[in-house]
């Protein structure tokens, strides 16, 4: 298949007839918007029986939206879905399942309290006389499926306490019990160890051999080449190219995934770098991140790059004292942060702008001024009573400084647009004059205009001597804003790049484990 998005990227065309048989599933030109955000502009893919097909793209390329369309969770605004050549509309998740499409999400959706067998057969348990559940038969079925998959799982075991790998196997077993023709795996290996990945791949090979079409989403290119016969690449919500795996190489893939013009919208004045503000030494949280050491100096913006699930936000949470860590130390302005709590971190001059504004950054029902004043209350109270006038004064001051667009400061913060909500979160911390600002996905869900303002703000802050640790999945943002880039992969710091040597390809290589000639 040779569909492309009209020459925006490099085209690698597959031979016109690479297989004689027709595809099991075809999605063509699917689009999906959420409000003003166009999550999917051109979702197209063809899946063949007995083939594992890799779907690749950066974070936010539209892969997950496409998966949810195949799973019947989202309904495409336009586009065609063909199953065995017949057009089909999926009314919901159960319709997708009946049609023979099974989705294995990154986080398995099991019943933690119930047994493996019941998880697989919920609502469809085999019956004996009197419509009673035949547990023997049910467990026998599970053993059969496990044998077919070549795995050993006790059907009576409760799902709670199983490893993510085993839970995925249960999900796959569920798909098999439905006789699914198409099995979609959304980043199944993200949380698995090397041995578990091997087992999963054996299972995938078994599925292929039995004639199922497998759609495999992964950021690890070596895995893609090991298991997949065909590769489709997406970028910015649109189909870029599709080709057999043996006609592709790592360079071509990364180029297709990234290949966009470097945006020139970033203001970067290059502040003078001062004393060390944050030093992290060998920070470890078992199973989440390991042996992380780095420093951020005053006036410096350090970008923390990596794929989703690489442990970026988790490190931020540990520094801020939300999550405990098992080993390592955090120093602020030379002093070790002893008490591991947000209160201690705030007192030491840290501010955290979290990834999820609505849930973690703001109290949505509270007024704008109250939200802005929230971190500064100890300064605003007199005899333990918060002075409303002081709150309003503080908020009004920062609203002007950050050019906040609002109706009245007394309105709930929920009335603000996404970008202005982000400014309100920033104002909350800036009012405390922090020495270190940790900002997680600074411009997620923000319109382009306000995005530039947030970037300008970060640059100004650095100019004033604030140390900024910026987590971002948007590579242009990292490259445009950061003085240094730290790249995380699977909970480990794998590369530290200077502004001069960092580019999209070098970051993506490190983040996906494709460092040429470097043993990891």
């Amino acid at each position: 298949m040779t569909e492309t998005d009209g020459g925006r990227g490099p085209e690698v065309s597959a031979p016109a007839q690479c297989r004689s048989d027709a595809p099991v599933l075809v999605l063509r030109n699917a689009t999906k918007s959420f409000g003003a955000v166009r999550a999917l502009i051109d979702g197209s893919i063809e899946l063949y029986a007995g083939e594992a097909h890799a779907l690749l793209g950066e974070n936010g390329a539209g892969k997950s939206t496409m998966v949810k369309i195949l799973g019947g969770v989202h309904h495409p605004d336009s586009g065609v879905l063909l199953l065995d050549g017949e057009p089909i509309t999926l009314a919901g998740p159960s319709a997708a399942r009946i049609a023979g499409i099974a989705i294995i999400y990154q986080e398995p959706t099991l019943f933690p309290d119930l047994s493996v067998a019941e998880n697989i057969f919920m609502g469809r348990q085999p019956l004996r006389t009197g419509r009673r559940i035949d547990r023997k038969e049910m467990n026998e079925h599970v053993r059969e499926i496990c044998d077919r998959l070549g795995v050993k799982i006790d059907p009576d075991q409760a799902a709670r306490g199983m490893s993510v790998a085993d839970q995925q196997i249960v999900e796959i077993a569920k798909a098999l019990s439905f006789n699914a023709k198409v099995i979609v795996m959304d980043e199944p290996t993200a949380a698995l160890s090397a041995r578990e990945v091997e087992r999963l791949f054996d299972v995938v090979r078994t599925l292929r051999a039995s004639g199922a079409a497998v759609l495999f989403i992964s950021h690890r290119l070596e895995e893609v080449f090991e298991i997949c016969q065909r590769i489709t690449i997406m970028r910015d919500g649109a189909f870029v190219m599709s080709a057999p795996a043996d006609e592709m190489n790592v360079d071509a893939i990364i180029h297709s995934m990234v290949g966009r013009d470097l945006e020139t919208m970033f203001v970067k004045s290059g502040a003078t770098v001062g004393a060390e503000v944050l030093r992290v030494e060998r920070l470890t949280r078992e199973g989440v991140f390991t042996d992380i050491s780095f420093a951020v100096r005053a006036g410096e913006i350090v970008g923390l790059a990596g794929l989703v699930g690489a442990g970026r936000s988790e490190i931020a949470r540990a520094i801020f004292g939300i999550d405990d860590y098992d080993a390592g130390k955090v120093f602020l302005n030379g002093d070790e942060l002893q008490a591991r709590s947000p209160t201690a971190a705030i007192a030491a001059g840290v501010g955290l702008v979290p990834e999820d504004r609505r849930q973690q950054g703001l109290v949505m029902d509270m007024a704008i001024d109250q939200n802005v004043a929230l971190a500064s209350l100890s300064r605003l109270e007199r005899l333990g009573i918060i002075r409303r006038s002081a709150e309003q004064e503080l908020a009004a001051d920062w609203a002007v400084r950050l050019r906040l667009k609002y109706g009245r400061l007394k309105n709930p913060v929920a009335t603000l647009s996404g970008g202005n909500q982000q400014k309100a979160v920033l104002a909350k911390w800036l009012a405390r004059h922090p020495s270190l600002l940790i900002i997680d996905e600074p411009t997620r869900g923000i319109d382009v205009g306000t995005k530039a303002e947030v970037h300008r703000l970060l640059d100004e802050l650095a100019g004033q001597g604030v140390a900024v640790l910026m987590i971002s999945s948007e590579l242009p943002e990292v490259l445009g804003m950061a003085d240094r880039v730290l790249v995380l992969r699977e909970g480990r710091l794998v590369a530290e790049l200077d502004r001069a040597e960092a580019d999209e390809a070098s970051i993506m290589r490190a983040a996906t484990g494709q460092l040429a000639g470097t043993p990891l």
């Binding site: 306490g161 710091l493 790049l497 490190a510």
Partner: protein, 350 residues
């Protein structure tokens, strides 16, 4: 490009030793057994102190006293398993007891089995109201049943309106169910045991009942699995109401007199008993047998204190302590498991 110098050059970061977590799986599964052991321990200990505690009359009193709580616990469990709660059971019991008494007051020859059906019917009506508001209007059950707790109590007071039901107006055959024994075992205990066994079996055996566990364990996944969530929740409330209605009839048979306060405060005793019995307050797990044993344990402790001549004040304090201990235990077990899982994964991923 420079590779971060920390990688590979220094020794690996210190790693806490993983602890095995298998023992706890077994402990958790044997919850019912654990409660039985505690019941017998309390019973044995008290008997050593006061041998009359093991007399047949004392044991009968123990079993009869726990029966209605245990019965209500069965209905409550079905609701709690779906991640809901029914706080109206005490009020439903009171209304049912009064309505049955009223029936006898006007028809002294009313057939005894039908009287029980009347009680169940009253409960079903109340359960339909609860279930409809929770499942159809999607109002949190805590609020709905807190409302119906007072509402039904108010209806009860209105209906009672000062009319006292006393033993003289209730047929002896009916009272016999509440106070007589069969082969030395109180009838009321036998009825409760039969309900526990039948419902316990049904909860294990039928698809629709496994749906209840699925709903409480992971509501979103239950929807994805095609479980008719609202329908199941509705019938769970109807069932709990029916059981509370049956409890009301048994209550009348046991005490032969009803005032408008009958059964008030039962809901909290029942919920605590059920939680002590190992039913997770957030749904998804627990058995009917455990839910029946919880109230039996509380009642055994209660009676033991009386036999040991310890102030009744301790009674409630111990019930409360036990409840907190049970929840703390569950929390402890789940935190431990979570940690073990993380460590095991880390060990394997290394």
């Amino acid at each position: 490009m420079t590779i971060a110098s920390a990688v590979g050059e220094l020794a690996p970061a210190p790693r806490p030793a993983p602890t095995p977590g298998r023992v706890w799986d077994i402990v958790l599964r044997a919850r019912e057994l654990g409660i039985l052991v505690v019941i017998f321990a309390v019973f044995g200990g008290t008997t050593i102190y006061n041998s009359s505690f093991a007399s047949s009359a004392s044991v009968q009193q123990l079993l009869a006293g726990a029966s209605i709580y245990a019965l209500l616990g069965v209905g409550e469990t079905i609701v709690i398993i779906t991640r809901n709660v029914d706080l109206s059971v005490g009020s439903v019991l009171g209304l049912s007891a009064y309505v049955v008494g009223e029936v006898f007051l006007h028809n002294p020859n009313f057939p005894v089995p039908l009287a029980f059906l009347v009680g169940i019917g009253v409960g079903v009506v109340c359960g339909v109201v609860n279930g409809a508001i929770v499942a159809v209007a999607r109002v949190p059950s805590l609020v709905v049943t807190l409302g119906t707790l007072y509402l039904i109590r108010g209806v009860d007071a209105l209906v009672v309106n000062g009319v006292q039901i006393d033993p003289s107006s209730i047929p002896g055959g009916f009272i016999g169910v509440g106070v007589n024994n069969i082969l030395g075992v109180p009838w009321i205990f036998v009825i409760t045991a039969v309900v526990v066994l039948v419902v316990g079996y049904a909860m294990r055996t039928f698809r629709s009942n496994r749906d209840l566990y699925a709903i409480g364990s992971n509501p979103a996944a239950a929807e994805l699995a095609g479980v008719p969530v609202r329908k199941r929740v509705f019938w769970a409330f109807v069932f709990s109401g029916a059981i509370a209605g049956l409890g009301g009839a048994l209550w009348l048979a046991q005490f032969a007199t009803v005032a408008s306060t009958a059964g008030s405060g039962y809901e909290l005793i029942v919920v605590s008993g059920v939680v002590v019995g190992g039913v997770a307050i957030f749904g998804g797990s627990g058995t009917v047998l455990g839910a029946a044993l919880g109230p039996l344990l509380l009642n055994t402790i209660n009676q033991a204190l009386v036999a040991a001549r310890i102030s009744a004040f301790w009674n409630q304090a111990i019930a409360g302590g036990l409840l907190i201990a049970a929840i703390a235990f569950d929390r402890f077990v789940s935190l431990r498991r979570e940690r073990n899982l993380r460590l095991r994964r880390a060990a394997r991923g290394a």
